[in-house]
Subunit: 428 residues, 2 copies
Amino acid sequence: MHDIAANRFAVRTAGMEASEIRALFAVASRPEVVSLAGGMPNLAALPLAALSQQVAQLVAEDGLTALQYASAHGLPPLREQICAVMALEGVTARPEEVVVTVGSQMGIDLLTRLLCDPGDVVMAEGPSYVGALGSFAAYQAQVVHVPMDGHGLVPEGLRAALRRARAAGQRVKMLYTIPNFHNPAGVTLAVERRTEILEICRAHGVLVVEDNPYGLLGFDGATYPALRSTDPDNVVYLGSFSKTFASGLRVGWVLAPDEVREKLVLAMESATLCPPTLNQMIVSRYLAAHDWQGQIAVFREIYRERRDAMLDALERYLPPECTWTVPDGGFYVWVTVPEGVDTRAMLPRAVAAGVAYASGSGFYTDKSGGRQMRLSYCYPTPERIREGVRRLAGVVEAERGPGLSTGSPAPVERTPAASGGELRYVRS
Amino acid sequence: MHDIAANRFAVRTAGMEASEIRALFAVASRPEVVSLAGGMPNLAALPLAALSQQVAQLVAEDGLTALQYASAHGLPPLREQICAVMALEGVTARPEEVVVTVGSQMGIDLLTRLLCDPGDVVMAEGPSYVGALGSFAAYQAQVVHVPMDGHGLVPEGLRAALRRARAAGQRVKMLYTIPNFHNPAGVTLAVERRTEILEICRAHGVLVVEDNPYGLLGFDGATYPALRSTDPDNVVYLGSFSKTFASGLRVGWVLAPDEVREKLVLAMESATLCPPTLNQMIVSRYLAAHDWQGQIAVFREIYRERRDAMLDALERYLPPECTWTVPDGGFYVWVTVPEGVDTRAMLPRAVAAGVAYASGSGFYTDKSGGRQMRLSYCYPTPERIREGVRRLAGVVEAERGPGLSTGSPAPVERTPAASGGELRYVRS
């Protein structure tokens, strides 16, 4: 390999490092390990027999369309149905405003391509979605983490971060935020903060990128008003069928103001010519022929049951100095371990003890998160979740050392995140 | 749209302009127009009934895998089969060296991301594939076109271009080349030039990116030795199932030297997490269960028949000053019109006369190609091809003006490209 020395690569390539997601896939695949690490949706409840029939009919009757190139913008019937999906969260949009992407990851990646020059700043919650951080790094954007609490992103923290960035002469291009059932933090942005955050961003000329893959997975069946529903001109909305239908189809979408959307279609052409036609038609027919909202209700119940199992197990097994968030939807609990425990250093020992998690530092670009970890309850059975947390508790106990494991600890707040009761819900 | 002024975008975004491909989709969809413009493969010969059965079985029996996330690298069984496909062109590769992409367009895009800083030079044939030019522009790479003749890329032209680039202090990152049945030029790189071009690139420390979507579509069933087969360490090979199976599945691949491939998997994660699992499994089962080489032979016959129809019609109808290439495979004929005729300016009049083509200037970044056009014979029936060329001839006749249409023209070389007989073939 004489020719492709490191200096043959672009400067941006130096920042590309193996993500935690990738390392986790290998770990999660070992059957003896309880994986609380990945974010794989639980598909067991999908109506495979009916889907099989439907896909067979699609290929037999419309195969010449389904197997052929189509437009980079996405199929019009699907874009129309996507508008109906978003209406559940108060979004009013026209099908022309929607661009279908190969998963919403592609939406994040292409928006960063369109918006960020090297050195430009992206504000994002701390912690934030690891896949988004990967795209920001790929375009040499600089991430500034904004603090969260149990009610989500803290408006005053955003204001302060924007002031600092302005003082430092930095160009802030977007706020990347996951308002609902945050990955990895498990919290939801309080409704009363939403308008305030939109006003702050508007005042600073910062585009809001609202990533909302979990919005329909609130455990009480309620939805929150999308940021996009309040400020259509300054919010780009990212949606996905990966968590509400089937991740392996890789069908997501972007709803963006006109100028951004026009460029996004061009970026889609450059990235992949067009999203897979077959996959778009499968989703479109599924939405047309199935009780897809009923199916989402089934998924919600699956995840609620698992969330309960995890919270019960955390309460039962974890050392009392541990705290965690209490999600009202989505896939994740964010756990803080006792001082002196480093979750990244602990991970190999946890895997040896038969449990995997995502260590917190992967969700920050500034190496914060050493005392945190993300636990996913989406995929394993409740029994496996309980067993995994039991194993994890043993590892944490061992890690903090014998000096701390005896005596009675000071009382701690076990659930720093807001429970659902403190948030106003918009009924769907 | 107060916030997203032009200066909110990244610098690279200014270079993104609507591609000819996109404009052509709209034109091609009008039934009264004979489109010789697009590059849509002709799928009518696909065994849809059998495929339908197969996909139904896949979803029913393995739906939980097919509809779930997988690795960014691609499914191992498919990567193994891809190695067998490439063996037809003399390529020896291990499955670990293959990365599955969402169409080979994604391979081009991500390789450019990995290799090119703004201002870096990509050498490419003149003309070159419009989708690749779009990706190069998206990363602000500078394209230097290298001359071709009827035997493909001219080695002495490449040497001269590299000398000029070096003298100008430019960093040349890659040679992007389509050696077989070139898009849009319709010519094939002579076997005796292949080693020479590889040696030139190696001597200059320039990576070769070999884009080979049409390699198995040679009309006599023969294949050429892939550049990758001669120099595995300095060639990245791009392959695709879009032309040999089904474009709407968006399954392509990259075979790259280790260092590039490792970074490519990371770039895939950033771009889309993983290629669609269902689509990979469909291709994998198709390759396992069908006589896929027999199916390619059927496709070859379809395209050969249409190539013949087009060449006959060109000979019969076009004004004698026109010349064109004679493809031995693939989808395209590259036509040069009489001096004074501008194919871009002529296009609206051609469409009004009921025929569409791709004007030559879209295949250059330097606005060459004004006297050229790409005619695709892949999709329409032979009858429609003949009718389309007849209409086109009328438009060209009208365009060059009455002064030229009478009298007997000087004898001209009608077929500047080499015919198949002049090239040595490697039998598959």
